[in-house]
Symmetry: C2
Subunit: 141 residues, 2 copies
DNA sequence: ATAAACCTGACTAAAATAGTCAAGTATCTT
DNA sequence: AAGATACTTGACTATTTTAGTCAGGTTTAT
């Protein structure tokens, strides 16, 4: 199981953005250069972040993106959810009434993966963008 | 991020096996039928489990596989590790002295994913095969 | 007017996943 | 000894996902 780049980039980009957010809109071009992420790929990612109301866009020259909420209120869960990179341990949803194998009953390990998903989401629910920015300042000092 | 079938199958198969382990070797054919997993795929998986000394094989008629340790001593970590399905949050290993972007310095989020990996591994380190079998008995009751 | 920046949708190469298939070898039962 | 059961190994493949690229827009500050 590997973590995807898309999710990682989304968080990286937002941490970068959050650091300059108070002053001016931040252009994707700048983020691209600072973080070494393809501009075109960033545009895909920010399109989703905007649709999920995590950032706001400012069009035209001197435009860019700004956070749509306070950094403290943006949790990792929200970010990963926005770019469709939430952790999915199982495909067999409750509403389907089917197990992972297509049978009517849940498989022997269903509960385990459900527990795991909860465990991971706890981690993501607690961490905010502000925490991450602060973390970086701390380590630099 | 999606959990792979291979890891899920490995755990399912071992829970199944652990339930009958005390009596006789369990054939992959039986596991395949009970759990609805392709026999050929199971063979790949058990080849790895055997090489990692999690199971022992008994060849010939009436053969099959048995656990190589007590169920209590087999942790989820061991199983997932054996089938190469450990969670990898980052590719940028310490020994490489390179960040995920190929640069010399770690990216803004490196620490975060490291923390996450630890958090997930804690979960896997605690759960044993015995726990899982017991869980299933409990729920059936 | 023009350049900076966002916006959109389609496209694609490469990798990973989830298997299948073929050809064995070992051992038990009869 | 013969046959059946079951493990063993390695190669092969279709599908899906990932990680982008590319081509064309539209908006707004200067
Ligand atoms: S039935 Fe839900 S994971 Fe198998
Ligand atoms: S440098 Fe390790 S995740 Fe980016």
């Amino acid at each position: 199981m590997k973590l995807s780049s898309k999710g990682r980039y989304a968080v990286m980009a937002l941490v970068d953005l959050a650091r300059f957010n108070e002053i001016n809109p931040v252009s994707l071009r700048d983020i691209s250069l600072r973080q070494g992420i393809s501009l075109d790929y960033l545009e895909q990612i920010f399109s989703k972040l905007r649709k999920n109301e995590i950032v706001q866009s400012v069009r035209g020259k001197q435009g860019g993106y700004i956070l749509n909420k306070k950094a403290r209120e943006i949790k990792l869960t929200n970010i990963l959810d926005a770019v469709d990179e939430k952790v999915k341990t199982v495909q067999c949803k409750k509403e389907l009434k089917k197990g992972c194998n297509g049978k009517a009953t849940k498989c022997l390990t269903h509960n385990l993966w459900d527990e795991l998903e909860t465990h991971i989401n706890n981690f993501f629910d607690k961490k905010s963008l502000e925490d991450l920015v602060q973390d970086n300042l701390d380590r630099r000092a």
